[in-house]
Symmetry: C2
Subunit: 279 residues, 2 copies
């Protein structure tokens, strides 16, 4: 996937994730940059990546990046915490375009939201927590800030089931957040693309456990903001004035695809072009 | 994977599943047939199958079966509801050995447990429910029995997280079982290999919702009982007298493998041989 080339500012932004959760990042990008075209690739045939070995994740990430590069994207957003933790350096070396993950923007926004408190809470999948990626990213921003990370594996299936209100997600949130509240974190980073759909409940339960409001940072928004800055810096922002298009690529069409995708994207995907590709 | 051959009664029984959940079936088999050797294959690199297309599931099932046949198993148990729903006929045609799924034994045991009530409840993954496999299997046993099937997707991640007691699984169980209790089912089939770990909670909540005890049928036990009968009928039961060995094959070694596998198997897997293979 190497070789030099020139892309126009009107070229699309490529976004990929192991599944459909990264559509929360595509949504934040579309909100922040409404004139940009976006090609989103969800590797739904091989989801989830979080339970795969590092070498398998690297191989999968490489094939996703190559498929998006073949669509002439001008920049790549890795909307997957597992890939961001394991394969970002490799993609940056191999690809002739800017590559942005979700962990570094989330870590920077989280440290900023701490307002001097020396502890930053992170919830993520077991794989992301075990990788230590947030600790490394936060150390690169402010080495005095300690990361308190907690795996919250059930939140992903809760969101996929659509149980984002009511007792079950609330009790699960309380159980996962108890030790972060006890650790007196200054802010909480949502280190998984699924969690923004539970942001309200997580914020309320954390405040209730800690008996004070604690800022909750959504990496999707932080990533979209850094993406906008990078495009501007590199002269890659679109010169088009119309509304950007969103194209969806998937490697398998799972049952309830339209329901689940619409939930993450925050709007109906029925009208969007969906293309199934092989990787 | 065709071709004729002879296998001894001392050959192992092959059991496979998309992941580690099928170890509940391996456990039931080991309990029912303590002298038999078992080779268990968990396709952990490609789990879950439930979200894949039928053609992909068939392809994966074929490769799992071939790997176990290469280990000279005398019989194949498909401890995966998705494969049992989609690929069992194909495996029976292609393989020169008896093949047993989990759906038919579960359906037969469920109908028997109904004791004349005309409705059988089934909970399973979304893929299994959508396949209509339990309806077909029950129709083959007693066409007067109506199946009331409900997808209960959250129960799998609850079990994998180890949340098998307490408020969260209890509330989730209540939510999934409410319409089955209202439908006045005569028995409930646990149509997913993960659910036996929640059998107690499911039984209690169903009884509480229905205001009477309703039998809960675990397909793993039903499958082990039919397996024992098939081996006996075909003269394939072992003639060995020692304790059978259990060998574990996996296609990827996920984090917390030993914890999760031990939970499903009901005993420590640390002492067992675990081999990683490519498919």
């Amino acid at each position: 996937v190497t070789g030099s080339r020139t892309v126009a500012g009107t070229a699309p932004i490529g976004v990929f994730d192991s599944g459909l959760g990264g559509l929360t990042v595509a949504r934040a990008v579309a909100d922040a940059l409404p004139h940009e075209d976006i090609v989103y690739l969800g590797d739904t045939a091989r989801v989830p990546y979080g339970t795969r070995s590092a070498s398998t994740v690297v191989r999968y990430a490489r094939s996703c990046a190559a498929a998006l590069r073949a669509r002439d994207v001008k920049m790549l957003v890795v909307a997957c915490n597992t890939v961001s933790a394991v394969a970002l350096d490799m993609l940056r070396v191999e690809l002739d375009m800017p590559v942005l993950g979700v962990i570094e923007p989330g870590a920077r926004a989280g440290v900023a939201a701490c307002h001097g408190v020396g502890r930053l809470g992170v919830i993520a999948t077991a794989g992301t927590v075990a990788s230590g990626a947030y600790e490394r990213a936060v150390a690169g921003v402010d080495s005095r800030v300690e990361v308190v990370a907690r795996a919250a594996p059930l939140l992903v299936p809760l969101v996929e089931e659509g149980w984002v209100t009511g007792d079950v997600p609330r009790l699960a949130a309380r159980r996962y957040l108890a030790e972060l509240a006890e650790a007196r974190v200054g802010a909480l980073v949502l280190g998984c693309t699924h969690y923004p759909l539970l942001a309200g409940i997580l914020e309320e339960e954390l405040a209730s456990l800690a008996a004070r409001a604690i800022p909750v940072v959504d990496s999707a928004h932080a990533t979209a903001a850094e993406l906008a800055a990078t495009l501007e810096e590199r002269g890659l922002a679109t010169t088009g004035r119309g509304e950007g298009r969103l194209q969806l690529l998937v490697t398998d069409l799972p049952g309830r695809f339209a329901d689940v995708a619409s939930r993450f994207l925050g709007r109906d995907v029925a009208g969007l072009g969906v293309e199934q590709i092989d990787l």
